[in-house]
Amino acid sequence: MSIDITMAAKVAKLARIKVEDDALPALAEEFNAILGFIEQLEEVDVEGVEPMTSVTPQRLKRREDVVTDGDQQDKVLSNAPDAREGFFAVPKVVE
């Protein structure tokens, strides 16, 4: 599987990282080097092998579905680049 410039641009878009057009060829080349390395995995016989979901045998712990925390609006917003009137502020999303 080879990645071309169109695919590199698509991946950058999906990852929400702006990549200038003139940087795309080098990016595609890097992807191809990494994917070429990853493609060794095709040699492995994985027939009937389950994909790992948990490396430890334990079942995830559960707890009562109740509120355990909250009322910390100031703390939640304290690191925001733009917080106004108790909310995170972002550029206009809908017209």
């Binding site: 599987m1 990645i3 991946v11 950058a12 999906l14 990852a15 929400r16 990282i17 702006k18 990549v19 990016l27 890097e30 992807f31 080097a33 990494i34 994917l35 390395f37 990853i38 493609e39 060794q40 995995l41 095709e42 040699e43 492995v44 994985v46 092998v49 389950e50 994909p51 790992m52 979901t53 948990s54 490396v55 430890t56 334990q58 995830l60 712990k61 707890r63 910390q72 703390k75 939640v76 304290s78 690191n79 925001a80 680049p81 733009d82 995170f88 972002v90 550029p91 206009k92 999303v93």
Partner: protein, 493 residues
């Protein structure tokens, strides 16, 4: 008193309890050493006032008697750990200015045990790197130096490794996703242990690859690793993958001997082109464990060569998901927007400016392997291979192997900048001996075992059974005593 910063945790603990020193004296000695070592670029956020306050409180507790296990011991904390009110930015521009409102569970455990935090330590950006050259703070420099070159301390916990090796702190925290504790420990002649997945809570540690990440101590001796690991571990309801198992007394586990235990030597770790020095170190280490009464058995871990490619699917996939949160909305950097830019432009520009090139590369590789049409071919296949890698280990443990001995790294520390033009895969090879352990969720420890002909430290890795860190530390302690590694870098900084 001279050079208190050079003490081990155990020595300092005993001196504190014998009232031979105070925590304030120890802390000041470390702060002074760190202030003279700015060249190494290990500490990136200094907290001297906080440290001295904590040291005074520790001295008061010690005076009353019945002090907790790490009371008064000054340590450094990797920048990946969220520390309340103190900059925590995972060495990334995207977390510029971030000051958490909360403390990570592991650092809280250390503070609760009386440890003194000297400051935050440099690392590779988001723990992605093997040379500490991807940090927004700049490269960390290894205190070991044999010619005009500046050497890498390894990565990603390079600041922690450099600081411990140069005696800027008595010990430090690290994290390990593919070798980020063990490789830098080996490159700087110190001890580093990654515990079994689930031993340390991941809560409050900036996430890279959640199914692989584990915190652990980086220390001057195996005994210190036992002391500090015990403090860091423990069940935490805030991390659903943290295991609810009692934490043994790891320091007590160092007693006793390894007679009759079985050590496996995996043939797949003998790589083509491996330097003779690494090969010889490995044979010497094997002989040392044999002399101590262990039985040596050749074993096979047949899927070893697929560990790195599987890792470079799974870790980027998880990273692409974990790092989606850095969007310029809730914390950290937000790009300046142009007239007419909407929210998508904000995300794209913020992430392009905030993430360094290696982080961007891994996010995009992860995005690709998880995207429609490729998920099965890459991500699911890698997870199947991971199952097989774990089974390799289960099989040898079922045959009666108690621990596995391997080299920690394929080379000694290399020069900063030497890998600049190499393709990214060449850098990934650094983790070839360590990454299997993360994929299988096992505990692994790097122990300094000798110097190469240039005079640079080399480490050996011991891999243990799940949740048998006590036994693993006992093997490591035996190896440490037999190897008798006492070399320290000559001070040039």
């Amino acid at each position: 008193m001279a050079e208190l910063n050079k003490l081990t945790l155990a020595e300092a603990r005993d001196k504190l309890r014998a009232k031979e020193v105070t925590s304030v004296e120890l802390t000041q000695a470390c702060l002074d050493a760190a202030a003279q070592a700015k060249t190494l670029n290990a500490f990136v956020h200094d907290t001297p006032d906080l440290a001295l306050q904590q040291a005074e409180a520790a001295d008061a507790t010690l005076a009353k008697g019945d002090a907790p296990s790490m009371c008064g011991l000054p340590i450094g904390i990797k920048d990946l750990f969220c520390t309340k009110g103190v900059a925590s930015q995972a060495a990334s521009a995207i977390l510029e200015g971030f000051r958490p409102e909360y403390e990570s569970t592991v650092s809280q455990n250390l503070l609760d045990a009386g440890a003194v935090m000297l400051g935050k330590l440099n690392m590779d950006e988001f723990a992605m790197g093997s040379s500490n050259e991807t940090s927004v703070y700049g490269d960390v420099i290894n205190p070991w130096k044999v010619d005009s070159r500046q050497l890498t301390p390894g990565g990603s916990s390079g600041g922690s490794a450099s600081a411990v090796a140069a005696d800027l702190c008595l010990a430090a925290t690290g994290t390990d996703t593919g070798g980020s504790i063990r490789q830098p420990a080996a490159f700087t002649g110190i001890v580093g242990i990654k515990p079994t997945y689930g031993r340390c809570s991941r809560w409050g540690i900036v996430a890279f690859a959640s199914s692989l990440d584990q915190a652990g101590p980086m220390t001057k001796t195996v005994r210190d690793a036992a002391i500090m690991l015990e403090t860091m571990c423990g069940h935490d309801a805030k991390d659903s993958t943290s295991v609810d198992l009692p934490v043994p007394d790891f320091e007590a586990a160092l007693q006793g001997d390894i007679k009759g235990k079985t050590i496996g030597i995996p043939k797949e770790y003998r790589m083509d082109g491996m330097p003779d020095e690494i090969e010889n170190l490995w044979s010497d280490g094997t002989a040392m464990l044999k002399d101590a009464g262990a039985k040596i058995v050749d074993i096979s871990l047949p899927h070893t060569r697929y560990a790195l490619p599987a890792y470079y699917v799974i870790a980027p996939a998880e990273a692409s998901s974990n790092l989606a949160r850095y969007d310029g909305v809730r914390y950290g950097h937000r790009a300046k927007l142009s007239q007419g830019d909407g929210i998508t432009e904000m995300y794209e520009k913020t992430r392009a400016e905030g993430f360094g090139s290696e982080v961007q590369r891994r996010i995009m590789v992860g995005t690709y392997v998880l995207s429609a049409g490729f998920y099965d071919a890459y991500y699911n296949r890698a997870r199947r291979v991971r199952t097989l890698i774990k089974k390799d280990f289960e099989d040898v443990f079922a045959q009666g192997i108690d621990a596995i001995l391997t080299p920690a790294t394929p080379t000694s520390a290399f020069g900063l900048g030497e890998m600049k033009d190499a393709d990214p895969v060449q850098m990934y090879i650094n983790d070839v001996f360590t990454v299997t352990v993360n994929l299988a969720g096992l505990p692994g420890i790097s122990v300094p075992a000798g110097l190469d002909k240039q005079g640079l430290p080399l480490g050996l890795q011991l891999i243990g059974k799940p949740f048998e860190e006590g036994e693993l530390l006992q093997f490591a302690h035996t190896l440490e005593r037999a190897a008798g590694f006492v070399a320290k870098p000559e001070k040039w900084w």
